[in-house]
Amino acid sequence: MVPEIGGIGLTKTKVNKSVAEINDRIRRGDAVVVTAEEMVEIVRERGEVAAAKEVDIVTTGTFGAMCSSGAWLNFGHADPPIKMQRVWLNDVEAYAGVAAVDAYIGATQLSETHGFEYGGGHVIEDLIRGKKIDVRAIAYGTDCYPRKELETTITKDDINQAVLCNPRNAYQRYVAATNSRDETIYTYMGTLLPNYGNVTYSGSGSLSPLHNDPNYETIGIGTRIFLGGAQGYIFWEGTQHAPTKTMGTIMTIGNLKEMDARYIRGVTIENYGTSLYVGLGIPIPIINERVAKTTGVSDDEIKTDLTDYGAPRRGRPILREVTYSELKSGKVEINGNEVLVSPLSSLKWAREISGVLKKWIEEKRFFLSQPVEGLSTDQVFKPMKQITAVPFVRNLMTREVVTAKPSDSIASAAKIFAKRNFDHLPIVDAKGRLVGIATSWDIAVAVGTGKKKLSEVLTSKVITATEDEPVDAVARKLEKHKISGVPVINARGELRGILTNQDLSKLLGGRGR
């Protein structure tokens, strides 16, 4: 079978090298290997044809949080045997719905006793480090597997297979994140300060493995890679693979027992959860000048969207496009302000990995593999199909709201509360813009302390919502700030309604009315 690699119309090239020829050069010790960072300069100076003639292999690297990672483990059979129905490793549950003693430990699964501080990612790192792992399992018991409970301690040497097997790794690039809200938010993109207070991003830019061969001319199923300090493989396109949006991903696999904990780290992302930092590098064989050109990609040419993670929706607003070279400079401009940037993925480690891979090849410890099949170049990432409507603030809010002015007297406000059955009195200015809020409790205190005007007691820093916000996002706000209602405002700050716990309770009568 002729392997079909690459999805683009393959035009004739001036330079043509095969992977087999390149491997021969590695064997002879005269292969020219450079890192992707070094290749940028070579292509810029000499052009892609000369670069393709001169260079045989470009090594890439990345070291970032790759949440969609995990490991398959086989524990061997106990005596009497057990068919593990549920299994925990250091109190982190692994998926055991596969035969009797196989389990998949996922990076983001949290410890049942330590929460965010310890998770599947940490279990994987501890296994690689050779640490002892407590195993606890339960089962319903069968004639062939009579045992119902099991407790033991293992290391990676005690078990059969331990295979790192990651459904989605090495995103070609990723969006950069910031936060428009007036509060700090905690996301998988790290801690985002209020009012566009910082920016975070991920990916290694010009060193990014998939960005060095975005046409998948050399990368495919069966490509041998650097994975966690060992030699691993690409075995499929990654989940959410979106090559047309330059957001390609790969599925990777490798022997966990051979890996180095320097390149596989369990982590905690603040107030978000656990994950796994995965060190990954792909060697790109320079088979022609087209590939030489793509490996010459620089940080200036790799663009991504600066995205507002303050919006609790799937379609997050995009502020503008940024390049990886802006991001790597450590500062990005937003609305005329210079904002500090956090890389999240380690550029130093990415560089190190591309260097280690280069060294392996030069020392004839790593040979390239010819993929057995290409990866999709037109796969589209679809959103989830949902069959129930999600309620928004506009569907539930109360529109007829009694309001007051800051100059109104406490006595008149007290009268309003006495007459009507509600707890929140939004205070608006002459143009109907929200300037504060007073609760029945504020008024009671005002009466008791002899205050005269609403302006003396109103809370001016008000937690608000907008009409197009999902109700779930507002429920989270109420819970977080321990409040019972929020005024709903538009972009101009004008009051549109109010959403309270009472409105939310309507949901219990039937969601999405």
């Binding site: 801690t191 920016v199 904002v339 890389p343």
Partner: protein, 133 residues
């Protein structure tokens, strides 16, 4: 050299302009990194950039005025063995005490740290530790 000094005083002392009078007398200009007053008393953390002798004199003056003085030697620590230079902390640090070097390593400049502690929980591998003072 910049030295950091923590002042502790009783609630009774809170009404006296101790800090102002020490500044007036010594003419050194300390930077207030953090200040708090509660029912248990007050705490002020100062960063003093002056010759050692001057700082010693200032400390002695505070003590004479009945203020408990403690010098902060090392309050925040970056464990280079566990840090892998991801830089998650960099954009949270308001003073640039945490910064990236040209070779993309994360470094900590103690003198600039104001102990806001934003970086501590942001570190994915808990490489930033705060020793309580």
């Amino acid at each position: 050299m910049t030295r950091k000094v923590l002042l502790r005083y009783s609630t009774q002392k809170a009404t006296e302009p101790i800090l102002a009078s020490v500044i007036k007398k010594t003419e050194i200009l300390p930077n207030i990194l953090y200040a708090e007053l509660s029912t248990k008393g007050g705490e002020i953390l100062l960063s003093i950039d002056a010759p050692d002798k001057e700082v010693d004199k200032t400390i002695a003056l505070f003590k004479r005025k009945g203020v408990e003085v403690q010098e902060i030697k090392r309050a925040i620590e970056l464990d280079r063995d566990s840090c892998f230079d991801c830089g998650a902390c960099l954009s949270l640090c308001p003073t640039g005490a945490l910064y990236m070097t040209d070779d993309k390593s994360v470094e900590l400049d103690e003198d600039k740290c104001i102990y806001c502690e934003l970086c501590v929980p942001s570190c994915p591998v808990r490489a930033l530790k705060l020793s309580r003072f």
